[in-house]
């Protein structure tokens, strides 16, 4: 074949290599390793087998010998998670003069232990989220179906794991976890968000929940809802500032609505209609829509009735 392939590649390679040398970012931190994305994803997947042993296993051990099953799998997950956390901390400290690899390893070990110990609590919390989904969606045929196939439940499951590692300041891994959920569900919950009990996201595609968002209990979001920040072009200057809204208990937000800003507080029992753009606080027990932005009506009895709870403007 009288083609130029050899030359094309050699010349391209020369330019790529120049780029590698000129720009440190290509070969990150002197060749220190980054965590392995697929390893982290498989930890997330495998933890589902421990937390809901009867659902995702291909063998019957989960239901016949749940203790052996979970004991076996936890051991492996422990090792793999500790390894990834260690790599993440070693990468972070890789170019620091004063870095001490042993202390990074010890920190990773302790975090892994605390994380594993949290699993039973996370498990109980997730049961409440299942209940919220079952109460919130007449199309759910059973609670099993929610655990098995609801993307909103997958997203909250991954978030609740990732959030624990975010609180421990583990680099990279919490975000890799939630972006995995994001890719699979279209639901982007930053691992830094604070989310209460009985949380339900229906359908979910397009939902965004920013890093400093605070969400109370019994909150229900529909697809396309953004709880976001106002835009900046100097991103890192705002890195430690509360930029995302606060949502109180029993709030419902309909599809495709956008709530922005760190000072924006949505009070208890508020209902926000769909396709609404909100950048200011809304007081409790009111309903708002794009059509009637200035008119907020009281609807005080919604929660108490515990009855079918329609939106009517």
């Amino acid at each position: 074949m009288p083609d130029n392939k050899h030359d094309v590649i050699s010349e391209t390679l020369a330019k790529l290599t120049e780029n590698y040398i000129r720009e440190d970012l290509f070969i990150p931190n002197n060749g220190c390793s980054l965590p392995d994305r697929s390893a982290i994803i498989s930890i997330v997947d495998d933890l589902r087998h421990v937390i809901f042993p009867g659902y995702f296993a291909v063998d019957s051990a989960a239901s016949v010998f749940p203790e052996h099953y979970a004991g076996y799998r936890l051991n492996d997950i422990y090792d793999r998670l500790k390894k990834q956390i260690t790599v993440a901390f070693l990468y972070q400290s890789c170019t620091r003069e004063e870095a001490n690899a042993d202390s990074e390893r010890e920190k990773a070990r302790q975090i892994t232990e605390r994380f594993i110990r949290k699993l039973p609590d996370i498990q109980e919390m997730l049961l409440k989220d299942v209940q919220a989904g079952f109460d919130g969606d007449p199309a759910a045929k059973s609670k099993e179906e929610i655990i098995f196939s609801y993307p909103g439940f997958l997203a909250i499951y991954v978030f609740r794991l990732a959030h624990e590692l975010y609180l421990e300041k583990v680099p990279f891994i919490p975000r890799i976890m939630t972006e995995y959920a994001h890719a699979n569900t279209g639901i982007d919950i930053n691992p830094g968000a604070t989310i209460g009990e009985y949380f339900f996201i229906d359908h979910g595609t397009g939902v965004v929940i920013g890093e400093t968002t605070e969400i109370g209990n019994y909150v229900k979001l529909y697809q396309g809802v953004t709880l976001g920040a106002l835009s900046t072009r100097k991103g890192q200057a705002l890195a430690n500032v509360k930029r995302h809204p606060t949502i109180h208990d029993h709030v419902t937000i309909y599809a495709n609505s956008t709530v922005l800003g760190g000072d924006t507080v949505i009070g208890e029992n508020v209902i926000i209609a769909g396709n609404t753009f909100v950048t200011e606080s809304i007081s409790a027990d009111t309903r708002v829509s794009a059509k009637n932005p200035e008119l907020v009506l009281k609807q005080p009895d919604a929660k108490k009735q515990e009855n079918v709870w329609y939106w009517e403007i």
Copy 2:
């Protein structure tokens, strides 16, 4: 390594095991098996090889010997589908005293047969959806491209399969199928919806079509469109109620609009602008937008012209 791993895991395991015992949901229905999600997904994938034999196969048999190819694959798909349907029914009846495994198996067999027999009709229906996509998108370079890579077409393909099993009241499987499409396309069509011919969803991410939605022929939806229900906190109480809108023939709904409610009827030829929140019926031949919610203008000739059909406010 003098770490506490053994203790950490053992103590965590004790708590997890307590949870397993206390809460039946973790070990579903006494250890009866649930359907295998990945098996169902591969059925959906493999049926595409039968319905569009020239597109997804890695070997040439599909085009050289389509009959052998389809005959070979159908046999395997039949077995695998029957198995999954059987598991689903056995799970459902697992804790019922009066359950009869043989009659569940027989039911699964009959449903599998009826499903397989429907495939040629589904195949013809899908050709019309391809045509709707080709007519509706100037960016489509060929009909093959629609079959090959349009997410909206993938979603409607999966829906048309899942809907048949929904009508047969098969547990779990229809929803697992459509959630597979949802995860891959961002389009969430409940398998219970009723959808006519020549249906086209462009781009599609964020589209939600609820369980009791009815859609006529020649309907076109853009990304982010919700055909949904008003919210409830007592989900199962509404389980058999029509909660989602009815969309008549030749309707176009632009991006990110939300149409809610079981009594909401969108008449023939209606065009709904983008970012519009609709909770009331719209009469035929009108155009609505968020800016002019009270003004609905007649546009009677749109369909007849069969010409380029722009939205102009």
Copy 3:
């Protein structure tokens, strides 16, 4: 087993075979091969290893011997890409009388060469997109995190590759590439769009950027933003017409807004609020929202300050 499986399949097969024969589209172009979707996806994945060698590799060669690493991988990618491009052109010319397979092969070879030679430039362009992400998102912990896990960055990476092949008029492959990104990120950028430097999409789910869109430098989009066309039912009649908007430099568009039409021009420094439906041009240095559609206020100093840049109505 006294079931009817054999008959059910045989009879179904007879009908499917009739359909195959009646409708050419099922066995595309006389059995000529279509490109292999998974082969194209793995080219896209593997090129990331060449462009960002320190991030996605499972071995250390990328950081220890980047030149050998990239040289090795480029060779394989070259071969695989040339093969797919060749298949795509051969398919396109498959039923044309005058088609000349050798000239199609030669065309594929030349395109592959030009594509490979473009990689260093694409690499540099992508560094600017990383910078835009880092400046635009306070939640980004590092630039590595953007490369590693930001879906908006994955989408622009895939787009910048696919766009080169679109310009070369390669059939199928550019769209397969961007639909792969679409499936993983919910961001649908048509490979025909023209996009400038320092482009950032935050969160991204639901973003649609149409084929004839033109985007300047320093543009920032949020999730759910559509840069689309007005609807048509006679798609191919508009195939060569500019149908999508033009976005000038330094524009910011908030979540879920929809901008439609080929004559719609969004001027420099414009800020569009969330949930806004725009079908007309907006002049430079103004801010628009659904609430105040007729009122557009000047905000001339935003870019110059290079300071935190909030939306305030």
Copy 4:
């Protein structure tokens, strides 16, 4: 491509199909399923993890939580083995009028239970074989090495499992197991053979031990040793006859020797030189070689000394 592929295949297919129809053996027993060879092989492989938990596992659970590890794996192995045994019996009874599938299933279940219960005894037996290898081979660096990489040990391990199923008259599976060992080690031990404790095969390639062979304790065989039958052309007529030799305790047989016949008895402490063809019995405490077939010398003290034990003619 103007080739004849379609015709070639169609015509070949017609002839193959004729063959299928004419000869029942091609479509065995009316389409009843045969056991799955790869499933059986993976059972054999996985049982090694249970019996020697620290050797073949890729995770650390085997050594940290051996009980959970073994409990988890045994459950899965039980299910898979029961399934294969069931298939084997159902196949065997498939064409018999009086066959009762439920009783075949029950038989398979009971055999599986007895087999699982035998595992601890097999485990102890195998330890003795390890000891025999360690005592018999100065090249063994450790007992671990024998477990880890000695083909003779792999063959005896597989034999000891398969023999239990042979005694239960399970069809197909015992032979599939030992042929798996045969393919990997070149050692062909028929599952019907009777083999005592402290058995060692060194190197092993070419060893054949026939179905009715009886072997005592402390026997040592080298590569290429055959313990076989005299030839027949009417095989099934001899199916229940003892056709292979009897080897008493403390016998050593050197490389490539052949011992044939059901009446051939090799007495205690006999040493047979290499390349010797034996079809008659040899009395205890003697040494034989091809060079001196008629001369058998006493060597009475070999075992008692428990010392280095050379062959000297």
Copy 5:
């Protein structure tokens, strides 16, 4: 880690590269491709599914729809085989000035066609080999077991395929096929050998059958039998010479015997004992052993009796 890895590899690489340049054999024939060994092996494996459709398939299509099954698989096998044969011929002609790629491709196509057309005959021939195994081994529980797990049968199956390609002078592929059988069974049959009907190799490990061997009908070999050539140090000088023995009908050769030389003829009905070294012809109806090399006894009635046929010296 301050190690020398980079230098060690770079310096080693320099020397390896020198070797690559100095010795053409390392980069064979100017970079022309060699056939893909694993592709050839999978062709051999997959042809077993066509020839014995009820045995090795994981789905039921083989038994329910054997015609579709075989038609589907043959098509794929045809393509893959043609590709490998083409590569083999192109490699062979790669450095020849006068080579014509198109004529090599055409030759490969024709050979593939002839090979496919031979399959039904090979299939019938193999049935006779099954019968020979069943008649020759009292340990065979069924004919299915022979097809399923007898290494001797696997070896003759692979040989009968490879021999057809050897006769067509296809480079590399016949030998790759038989070496695959050799690796799995320890039976090394050169694809050039000529082997009659009703051939049976029992156990088989260590059997060698050389390139110019001729074997009649109803021949039975045991493990370790060599039908070989006398040694040479100038190998290619003997490349077209008959170097291996001729074995007439109804011969039995016991374990580990060695028969060498192109002029050595073993007459009808001969029985050779085990561990015998034969370099001269043996006349028909005689029995030989190492013990009585000069004594050859008549045994005229063995075949006629069709009775149990023991070796007795």
Copy 6:
């Protein structure tokens, strides 16, 4: 299913766990890890790509960019090999009080470096082995075929790698390597043997070469040849003693012959017939056979002629 599975497994598990506790060998060395067998095998496989870059690669980089190709692969092999050697030494020192993990790691690093540096020499040595095969086998169609598919060549390739690690006293790994070759070829060369240049094993199944064997240059062995030790029952007492024969230059040993004993020396140019059992030295330039054990004939001119070299008694 009212079966006893749970009890059967629980009771079996209790006994297995008792065994684990009673016998240390089951959980080797306190849970220290053993090397990973499959990792070692893939190192052996991948080194073939470096040493013969044009043969086993699935992509074309090996021939187009051999330097990049080898550089890329060596880096990865270096890391993986160092890891396995480290694990092996750490295991060995795991229970020793005075063990120092860092010094074990350093030792592993140095050995890896020396091993990598040896590769070019091994590569050259192997070329000579290819030549010996080509000169020694008229059935070899090309040198490529020897590299590609001769089991004797695979065995010597693996041996030459493993021998280097044996000399470095690396535990486990050399034996795992040669047992991998043994399983694939039936040729069992202990990594401790000393083997000269131009070594050829034809066919090879059943060949055994013991740990303290010494082999000169231009030696040729046929299948089934054993170069072994006399038997012992007190293996470890002989661990450092020369137990296997010494074979001088230009020796040929025919199939299935057995040469035993540490004092047995086979002189230059000796030819040993097949099926011969040798436990005493043979002087140079002689030929021996089982038939004429006491008669050794001079054959002085064999090597000098460099001509066709037949065995004639």
